[in-house]
Amino acid sequence: MANRASSDRPATVALIGNPNTGKSSLFNALCGGQARVGNYPGVTVEHKTARMSLACSTFKSIELVDLPGTYSLSARSADEAVSVEVLCGEMPTVAKPDAVIVILDATNLERNLYLLSQVLELQIPTLVALNMWDRLEKEGMKLDAQKLSESLGVRVVCTSASKRFGIAEVQSALLEILEQAPGSEKANSTDSRGVLERGALASASFPKAFLESVDELEAWFGAQGCPLERFQIERLLIDDSQAHSYRVIPKRISSEVAQRIATTREHLATQGVSIPLFETRARYGWIKQRVVGVVERQARERRVSTSDRIDRWLTHRWLGLLFFIALMFLIFQSITAFASWPMDGIGFGTQWVGQRVEAMMAPGPLRSLLVDGIIAGVGAVLVFLPQIAILFFFIAVLEDCGYMSRAAFMMDKFMSALGMSGKSFLPLMSSFACAIPGIMATRTIENRRDRMVTMLIAPLMSCSARWPVYVLMVSAFVPKQAVLGGWVSVQGAVLFAMMCVGALVAIPVAWLLKRFVFPGEPSTFIMELSSYKWPSFRVVAMRVWERVLSFIARAGSLIFVTSVLVWAAAYFPGDHSLVDQATAKLEAEQADPNADEAKTQAWTSEINQLKSDLISKSYLGLAGQWIEPIVRPLGWDGKIGVAVLASFPAREVIVATLGTIYSLGGGQDETSQGLAENLRSATWPDGRPVYTLATACSIMVFFALCAQCVSTLVTIRRETNSWRWPIFSFVYMTTLAYLGAWIVYNLMSFWLDP
């Protein structure tokens, strides 16, 4: 590797640091917002890279890789394991880093140095960015950067990334390090590259027995043809065994590796080496030596900082909770209220484009594919963007200013009683507007089990797309009465009950998931509460932009494909020539300024009749007839079956589909009197009305619990990197919905009509 010709390849530089150290700001400042975001193969850890606009004499270009924010390189969590793999050059998609930038929070040096002490073990040229330099003084601290650099033996640059201070210095220091990397012509001694001698590392003070065991294992791995870095062998010995799945360890020796690790641990235990405690002790011992005379803190007493003063109010027993509830209410209102304008705009735009296309083309399958399949499909994707953007704007602001960790802190007791953690609250709350941004927001939950449970129950929260269904059913079938002395309207009470059904069902579901699907050690709430600060506009804008972009790019394409498939199922195999002819005549009639009102109405109702016949003869319609015996116990007829089936891609579609089926045209909305009237007059062959209060409630409960949203399922697939979880969600929610609807129908039929 030392003689690898380097000038014709890009350099890889890794950026690593604790959470809340301003890593994103530094990344953006170094790369000017050109990041490519994706996932590392096989894990749900985000992968962010960007090309630096920096000319380097020894490399073609410089690629900066942003590693997940982490406190340590122990391979216990997925984030940490990925970081170790990238730094050791074992991640298939990332070249081994030629240099690493470690960002440290200057106001919290000791704990931040822990990660640095581990990164140094890997002996990659290292540069330290001492960030938050501007805040030292406010915190009443003094720090001698020169002295720190000398005692650490690596170059230290002072920065304030959010204010773009020190960026040029980081760039020039990085260039100097890269230009004397081994393999380049200028390579000389090791002094200023930021690579420490073994003896200067924290691991030099590990117990002797441990170091000898590492030597042995290192030789053994070498003999097996799979040389591992010393640091990786240390991690295998120190950390809990499940998490490290280093790709380089071949399957053939994996069981022997496990065996060797176990015996070595036993041997070390007899030698009095207490795993894992000795490592943290040795590292903090090393840190204590390095910071002697470097940091000067005012007195031993804790100063009451502004941040503490704010905290006294924001986590106050009553005021804190009140503020939190008010804030959640504001966010929820904003998502539903502010998003409705751009959403209407997008809806209107989609319609407008559809109408343009309709005006240009004669009716036929191609026009139907374009208008009902592609344009409607793209519109269905775009319509979620305002909600996603607004929610992520709030999340980014709250995260960046430091309130997010307080919100989790306050809600933790409540949420842990339900088997989750405080960090699950906001994603679930926002799922009441729309599950898609909610599921994307679970990224803020580090614990994998908590995150999975939150993600899997989020679609049960009553999202805004369920609203039209509830409104239609309630306005048509729930009596307009007031009870309790006229204070409570029955319609309102039923609507409210429907909003709550999903959330209530989610409680036992979360418990069951935690108990049987994700068993394991209890989650922890060991979390830093970072100081409050003003959010940085750049960081907020970047986060929102990244989320919006990744939604369009990844989820968008799949949602689009599914919409087209569903369109095809509803369109084929019927013969659409009659509808097309009738539509052409209608459009010609409408283009005439003296159009005959009665004539156009007659045409419209004929088209709707034809369409309704076609849909019942399509693959979707056939499936509806096939499922009639299945939906009978829920009090539904085949027409409802078809409508529900057609609404699996997106639940709000049912209103329009019912409209089509009951021959009223597609343009029905939930408040149309005509549709409600038609539903009330629909009968079974024997003359009994199809829709009773029991049927209406059974439909509503079904919609409350069912996973009728392809976009949500695709988002779960994207976030978990596996089809397993969307399939799981779909199956469990549909089963729940069926059971729930069945129970409600039977209970209510018994009650109202014994």
């Binding site: 406190y71 340590s72 122990s74 216990r76 106001t107 919290n108 040096l109 000791e110 704990r111 822990y114 120190i238 950390d239 809990d240 207490s274 795993i275 894992p276 405690l277 490592e279 943290t280 002790r281 903090y284 803190r297 031993r300 804790r302 503490d308 905290d311 006294r312 986590t315 106050h316 027993r317 009553w318 804190g320 909770l321 960790s405 802190f409 306050m410 933790d412 007791k413 409540f414 842990s416 405080g422 050690e521 209890p522 922890t524 709430f525 060991i526 979390m527 830093e528 509460l529 970072s530 100081s531």
Partner: protein, 77 residues
């Protein structure tokens, strides 16, 4: 001196860490976060429902659930 844990500290009280019980991943994480023997910890406050608890340690604020705080043995200072 009777040994107590971080969980026993009241708001504004200090303690010096003696050790962290156990040798599992949680113990390791507590140590990594700076709860190492000899450090002075102050209890800052608790969440509205009494749990978790906020501490000041090695110059930053750390939140722990009471069950986690119970694993950190300290002596009052």
């Amino acid at each position: 001196m009777v040994s107590i844990t971080l969980n026993d500290l009241q708001e504004g009280q200090h303690g010096t860490i003696l050790d962290v019980e156990g040798n599992d991943a949680i113990a390791a994480r507590l140590l990594e976060m700076g709860l190492i023997p000899g450090e002075v910890v102050e209890m800052i406050g608790q969440a509205p429902m009494g749990d978790p608890v906020e501490f000041s340690v090695v110059g930053y604020r750390l939140s722990l659930r009471r069950i986690e705080a119970r694993r950190v043995r300290i002596e009052r200072t």
